[in-house]
């Protein structure tokens, strides 16, 4: 009995050490690095009420099978169809903070634009786990998908979705590798004339699909350009969304572009290609078919 107290003390010390380790180990599982605002993402438990103020994250969450946990989305989140049933909380840029707080979320996902810094701050101060993401490029989408998988506690599913997209993209890349590059311009707005630049995932998709965006050397994702500059770069095809197609066909200034004069204006399915999300793979396939019609038979 003379050793009982020290033994008990040692045992207690070891036990406490064990608890601490397991707590620390559990805490490690819950650290997710920083978001695109350079804020640490802190989540203490698996989120059950998620507000997704970003069409990309909404799509991914549905693809991850947790669409039912969404308690808020932006007015622009229209895919998949079941997103309709998620309450619409308004805009994704400068969101309605009160509406978001009223939905009592335990995780808020934002678009990482400077306009949203104030909102992110408010959510942080309200004690809600907040993460902001910018998804301009394919690898950013890949990272986001895997991270969201971990956030919701299903890393395996996240990896599955990301890998599926990656596989589709890779297969398109292989098929088009041997084909001659088709140069393209992708105008997205008129007045001012804005095109897709090298900083956008669309440019990457065009490359994967066997083409080359004539503006891929410009770092901005959507630079403003002059029509004469487009003429100078002389793209072989013009890729536009359905609403802009008529406008480009009719406009006098586009006649100066050879591709417009020769009728090589192709309409892109903007539903597929508008944002970097789970349908990136299908987007690449559809682009490849446009750029290389001979592939359509496959």
């Amino acid at each position: 009995m003379r050793f009982a107290v020290p033994v008990i003390l040692v045992l207690v010390a070891c036990a406490r050490g064990d608890t601490r380790d397991s707590v620390a180990a559990a805490a490690d599982n819950r650290s997710f690095g920083v978001d695109d605002f350079q804020d640490t993402i802190k989540l203490s438990s698996i989120p059950k009420r998620i507000v997704s103020l970003n069409p990309t994250t909404t799509e991914v969450l549905f693809a991850l099978g947790v669409g039912s946990r969404l308690v808020g989305r932006t007015q622009y989140d229209n895919w998949p169809d079941s997103a309709r049933f998620v309450p619409n909380l308004g805009p994704g840029i400068r969101p309605n903070v009160e509406a978001v707080l009223a939905a009592k979320p335990d995780l808020v996902l934002l678009y990482a634009s400077q306009d949203n810094r104030a909102a992110a701050e408010r959510f942080h101060r309200a004690g809600i786990a907040t993460a902001a993401f910018k998804v301009d490029r394919i690898e950013q989408f890949d990272r986001l998908t895997r991270l969201l998988g971990r956030l919701i506690g299903d890393s395996a599913r996240g990896a599955l979705v990301a890998d599926t997209v990656k596989r589709t993209l890779d297969s398109v890349r292989i098929v088009t590798r041997a084909l001659p590059r088709v140069t393209a311009v992708l105008p997205t707005w008129d007045q001012p004339l804005i095109v897709i630049g090298g900083g956008s995932f669309m440019s990457e998709l065009v490359t994967i699909a066997g083409g080359r965006n004539v503006y891929d050397s410009v770092a901005s994702p959507s630079p403003t350009v002059s029509i004469e500059d487009i003429v100078r770069r002389d793209p072989q095809v013009i890729l536009v969304g359905p609403e802009s197609a008529e406008r480009v066909r009719a406009a006098q200034k586009w006649r100066a572009v050879r591709a417009a004069r020769e009728g090589r204006l192709y309409i892109v399915d903007t539903a597929l290609v508008l944002r970097p999300a789970v349908r990136l793979g299908e987007g690449a396939v559809s682009l490849a078919r446009l750029l290389h019609p001979e592939l359509a038979r496959r």
Partner: protein, 323 residues
């Protein structure tokens, strides 16, 4: 104005016009550009020169001529050397019209029409406000009415843009900064009609403007029906300005600065001042559009941004002459 100065003005305009055709993002030798003008040479070059640079240059010249004449006429009729074509609510009204059209996602072809409708409505409202407050052609009342309409227009634009899409805001802002980038031959045609008709009328009323610039009572003593003449001049000058705004958005400072340049060149009497202002304005805007096209490739500067820079040396020199 001496013959030499007139010749100089015309030469300057011709030089600017030729430069506007020869210079651009696509490098063409002078021979290639002249060849392209007549249809020979590489297909892209021909289209660039004929379908892009030529109509743009003509649109710019018409805008400058219209704004110069309008500004000169308003400065005379309002007896105010700081009057300018957008004074009577033209810019505010046009901006509201254009921003509405952009917000409603109407086709871009309708934006100029909406801008013109907005501008005309604003002028009519300003004239009505001045009349209802017994302004009786008092220029100060009219200027105040224009300011009131402009203030209301600004408020309306802010409300429209506050919760608008990013793309709508960008489109609206771009329009408000002025641009000749979308010049088409049909635009050139109808702007030519407005500027020649309206500008022609204003030049024809040059002597009346001379009388008005002495004051309402003095003009009345010279046989001018002051109220009717002033109203005609305000309306015509504002309509010409509204037409330029419909064609290319807001191009500031041209209408303000150009009549002063014309007077410095020696023009006296409003008939001469207005014609000289038309030529000077055409030269200035053609040159400004050229700068807008080539200053920051691959993008374009808005035309209004380039002409706004005009304001700086002008106000500085006016300040020096006052003190």
């Amino acid at each position: 104005m001496t013959l030499a100065r007139w010749a100089g003005l015309v030469v300057a305009l011709v030089v600017a016009a030729v430069a506007a055709i020869m210079v651009g993002t696509i490098h063409l030798t002078p021979r290639e550009s002249i060849g392209a003008l007549f249809g020979s040479g590489e297909a892209n070059a021909v289209f660039v020169v004929r379908s892009l640079r030529l109509p743009r240059m003509m649109l710019a010249a018409l805008i400058g001529a219209g704004l110069g004449t309008s500004g000169g006429a308003l400065q005379g009729a309002l007896r105010n050397p700081l009057a300018e074509p957008y004074l009577l609510g033209v810019s505010g009204g046009a901006a509201v019209g254009a921003v509405c059209a952009v917000s409603l996602h109407l086709t871009p072809a309708l934006v100029p029409l909406a801008a013109a409708a907005g501008a005309v409505s604003a002028v009519v409202i300003a004239l009505f406000v001045a009349h209802a407050t017994h302004g009786r052609g008092d220029p100060r009342v009219l200027i105040m009415a224009g300011v009131v309409v402009g203030a209301f227009a600004n408020a309306a634009i802010m409300v429209l843009l506050a919760n608008a899409d990013l793309s709508v805001v960008r489109g609206a802002l771009w329009w408000m900064m002025g641009s000749a980038a979308d010049a088409s031959w049909s635009q050139v045609a109808w702007l030519a009609i407005y500027v020649t008709l309206g500008g022609g009328l204003l030049v024809a009323w040059g002597r009346t403007l001379d009388a008005l610039s002495l004051g309402e009572d003095s003009a009345a003593g010279l046989g001018v029906d002051v109220e009717r003449a002033a109203r005609r001049i305000y309306l015509t000058a504002s309509l010409v300005a509204a037409a330029t705004v419909a064609a290319a958005g807001l191009v500031g400072f041209v209408g303000l600065v150009v009549p002063h340049i014309a007077r410095r060149l020696g023009a006296t009497g409003h008939r001469v001042v207005l014609v000289a202002s038309a030529l000077t304005g055409a030269f200035l805007v053609v040159a400004a559009d050229l700068v807008a096209r080539v200053a920051l490739p691959p993008a374009e500067l808005p035309l209004g941004a380039v002409t706004a820079i005009l304001g700086v040396p002008f106000f500085l020199s006016t300040l020096r002459r006052l003190t």
